[in-house]
């Protein structure tokens, strides 16, 4: 099997060409049975009953107090079977949560990670590559759509939290290696690259797609700016009352922050205005497109607005400080967006 590319080559492929990323660690569950759709819908922050067969929706599984248990993308097929994708960090907790709550419903819960691999074909040239690989029908697959592709006899889910074309193939384990080879051998104008999965969180944060690990204990989806993952008109779901209350008076604001090129900023560094600590850095990544570190920070709600400048102070070395600025997301227009 081809060797994995380094960080920079992986990033470049994802932002300028295309590559293949093995997402085998990510969570993937399947819920089937007569009650599947209704049962999962009752636990989800968005309305699954309005999702058309062959489509998906991004949302949250919340605890009763409004805290985020898992961020997930849920797909519904024509037989009302439910596919749930979530991060590696939350896969086990989500499976346990669904198992407990679906116990008395007429459903079966299957952990697909035991039987299926998950491959991502990603980048602005990924759509061209997938046409070559899976046929021209792939052009008709909308964002958050999925299909069983006849040509390669595999399920393909169109996703894209990093702002580029992304096709995820849910593949029986015995086919993973063969499909790896076939995709990496595609004779396309731009050669495919084996993308290091460690580059995915960087690509995602540049588009302000956050991960569960970014959410501090006690922070609500409202604090984190995840309003779009909630259907506030949906009558009831775990945590619904808590998020409705939170949205009226958020106690904090998660914002994207741009740091000086070369800044030694780290997670946990504090943000000041004069002698007032206004927040802290939750995660920082090197944006190769912007040539500077960018990060997610949780701030005082009065000052968490684009244009505000903070003095970042290192928690490791109190003398080390530099200026940073709250900035808009998504941080830049991707090659995929320019093509659309």
């Amino acid at each position: 099997m081809a060797a994995m590319s380094g960080f920079e080559e992986s990033y470049k492929a994802a932002r300028e060409g295309f590559g293949l990323c093995d997402l085998g660690e990510e969570g993937r569950l399947k819920v089937t049975g007569p009650d599947a759709l209704e049962a999962v819908n009752a636990l989800f922050s968005k309305d699954l009953m309005s999702v058309l067969p062959g489509a998906g929706i991004m949302g949250l599984f919340l605890r009763d107090n409004g805290e985020v248990l898992a961020l997930a993308t849920v797909f519904v097929d024509e037989d009302e079977n439910i596919y749930v994708f979530t991060e590696a960090d939350t896969a086990e907790a989500l499976a346990r949560h669904l198992s407990e709550h679906l116990r008395e419903r007429d459903v079966e819960l299957e952990d697909l990670s035991e039987t299926h691999g998950l491959l991502s074909v990603l980048g602005p040239k990924a759509q061209e590559a997938m046409v070559e690989f899976a046929g021209e029908d792939i052009l008709g697959l909308p964002y958050l759509g999925f299909e069983h592709n006849e040509r390669i006899d595999q399920k393909i889910f169109r996703m894209g939290g990093c702002g580029e074309f992304e096709y995820r193939l849910l593949v029986p384990r015995q086919d993973v290696e063969r499909l790896n080879e076939e995709i990496l051998s595609l004779q396309t104008p731009v050669s495919p690259v084996r993308i290091d999965p460690q580059v995915m969180p960087v690509l995602e944060l540049e588009m302000r797609t956050i991960r569960h690990a970014d959410i501090p204990e006690g922070a609500t989806p409202i604090d984190m700016g995840l309003h779009w993952m909630i259907d506030f008109r949906k009558e009831s779901f775990p945590g619904s009352e808590a998020v409705r209350q939170a949205k009226e008076a958020p106690s904090r604001r998660a914002v994207m922050v741009s740091f000086e090129p070369g800044s030694a900023v780290e997670k946990g560094d504090e943000l000041f205005i004069e002698d007032r600590c206004m927040g802290e850095v939750l995660r920082v990544v090197p944006s190769l497109t912007l040539g500077r570190p960018v990060g997610l920070a949780l701030t005082d709600p009065e000052f968490g607005w684009v244009g505000v400048h903070f003095l970042r102070r290192s928690t490791a070395s109190k003398e080390e400080e530099d200026v940073c600025r709250v900035t808009s997301a998504p941080l830049f227009i991707t090659q995929t967006a320019l093509q659309s």
Binding site: L144, G225, W228, F303, H309, S328, A329
Partner: protein
Amino acid sequence: MTAEVNAELTLEHNRLIAARRRELSERLKKVLIERLSLDLEPSEIADDTALFGAGLGLDSVDALEVAIAVENEFGVSITDNDMHVLRSINTILDFIEERQGQA
């Protein structure tokens, strides 16, 4: 640290920046909710939410309505060449502030 950077780091300066941005944000959200008949309140829209796709779920027809709403409310034109600014509430506000700063 330069005097300009020093000025940017005061509570007073940043309070003004934040208050102006918040006011612009509220105005833009209200105008979009009304113009596009969105079943949302301003407090239910985060400023970095994608306007299209998985965020607010707007489509290309809505894009034209957004451009008209921005021109009517803020006096700033969004031409065909500027449509890339229609990514989130924040990117539209960046454009408005930039154009109003040039006026």
